[in-house]
Amino acid sequence: MIGGFPVLAGATMSVAVGEIVLLQGPNGAGKTSLLRLCAGLLPIARGTGSVFGFDLATQRDSIRPRVGMLGHRNGLYGDLTVAENVAFWGSTAGATSAEVEAAVTRLGVDGRLRDVMVVKLSAGQKRRTALACLVARRAELWLLDEPHAGLDAAGRDELDTVLRQAVDSGATVLVASHELERAGSLAHRVVEVVAGQVHEVEPPS
């Protein structure tokens, strides 16, 4: 509920482990709210929901450590380097330095970029660093809100590769995006969110 009005009403959907599901719909339709709900950031006013078998109303603390959310902001510290950011976020989940290093390498923010302050990075490099943080945290459910925004063509391709790799290694991805062509080709299923309602639409070819 926001301002006394239900953001999502009559929304029913399920996502299987290892799927990439695209959420599409106009601005204000409830896509971001659905992602925040799945992350345990918004309480459920009515109805039921669960993530990895944990109840969204009563067990949000058990859900959060397994979820990684990348919204409009990256959740990075500008005065830390790329490596320090990834190490910090990885360490909050108990990642070893080898796992942190692997995440930095996998997202291509190693080498020259590794010791650059995040504040000096381009939008795409920041996005990649934020994704490296999700990898280092070993997030099992990736909730991505407009992940392609601000990325150049190469950055978008890289992001798609990262998402496919994440799914190959067992992660589940929920993407809210207006870029239907790109995100649609990536997704196993497409779900339309309109005025708080959720409808499955034709899967991408």
Binding site: R64, Y77, T92
Partner: protein, 229 residues
């Protein structure tokens, strides 16, 4: 991961950011120094400055603390890191303790500089016998201030107008620290012939304040940032 380890991680991250951005050395310390000089201009009469030096040290500390608290939470809000910490399920008690420790370290550095400034500018004298009381006052008052600052910094982090809201909320709450720390430092410095023994009961007040906000703040911080961000 243990709560204590995450607290150390958060404190280390905050102190590393401070070391890089140098807000304490380049902005807060000059601000505190200018405040002390302005006090000296305003109260430039014989013996007045020396008598009121303990209170001025703590007033300058409180005003400067507001800048440090705002900075401490600005680094969390700028790119949505506080939200990300919540999503990551990082223990809010550990975040609270970690940020309090980092703030306490910065406050301690600030207080030492202000004490030196009081000696140089106001002619305050630190007798050898008062050093233990002075050090204990600094430690207990710093812990209390850091806990209150972190609690209210988290509370106001998500609000527009937090720059003006924070002083309105924090300054009345830390009045007991201002009073207790001022009295204790007066005793430590022997201001106006106040006996050293008169300072120790104030340490009790400061310790109770620090423990109350350390424990209460740890419990309240999680729900507060849930609502505020």
């Amino acid at each position: 991961m243990s709560r204590w380890r995450i607290a150390r991680l958060v404190a280390g991250k905050d102190l590393r950011i401070e070391r890089r951005s140098r807000v304490l050395t380049n902005q807060v310390l000059p601000f505190a120094g200018v405040t002390m000089v302005m006090f000296a201009f305003a109260l430039d009469a014989s013996n007045v400055l020396e008598r009121v030096a303990p209170g001025l040290i703590w007033l300058a500390t409180l005003f400067s603390m507001l800048v440090l608290v705002q900075r401490s939470f600005a680094i969390e809000s700028d790119d949505g890191a506080l939200d990300a910490l919540r999503v990551a399920g990082v223990d809010p008690v550990a975040i609270y303790w970690g940020k309090s420790i980092a703030l306490a370290v910065q406050l301690a550095a600030l207080e030492i500089v202000l004490l030196i400034a009081a000696v140089l500018l106001y002619g305050a004298e630190v007798p050898l016998g008062g050093i233990v009381l002075l050090a204990t006052t600094l430690v207990t008052a710093t812990c209390g201030l850091a806990c209150v600052g972190t609690l209210y910094g988290g509370l106001t982090a998500g609000f527009t107008g937090r720059e003006t809201l924070l002083p309105l909320l924090v300054l009345p709450v830390v009045a007991p620290v201002l009073i207790g720390a001022t009295r204790a430092v007066e005793s430590a410095l022997g201001t106006d012939g106040v006996a050293l023994s008169e300072g120790w009961p104030w340490i009790g007040l400061l310790a109770v304040f620090a423990v109350a906000f350390g424990a209460g703040g740890a419990l309240a911080f999680g729900p507060l940032i849930e609502e505020a961000t």
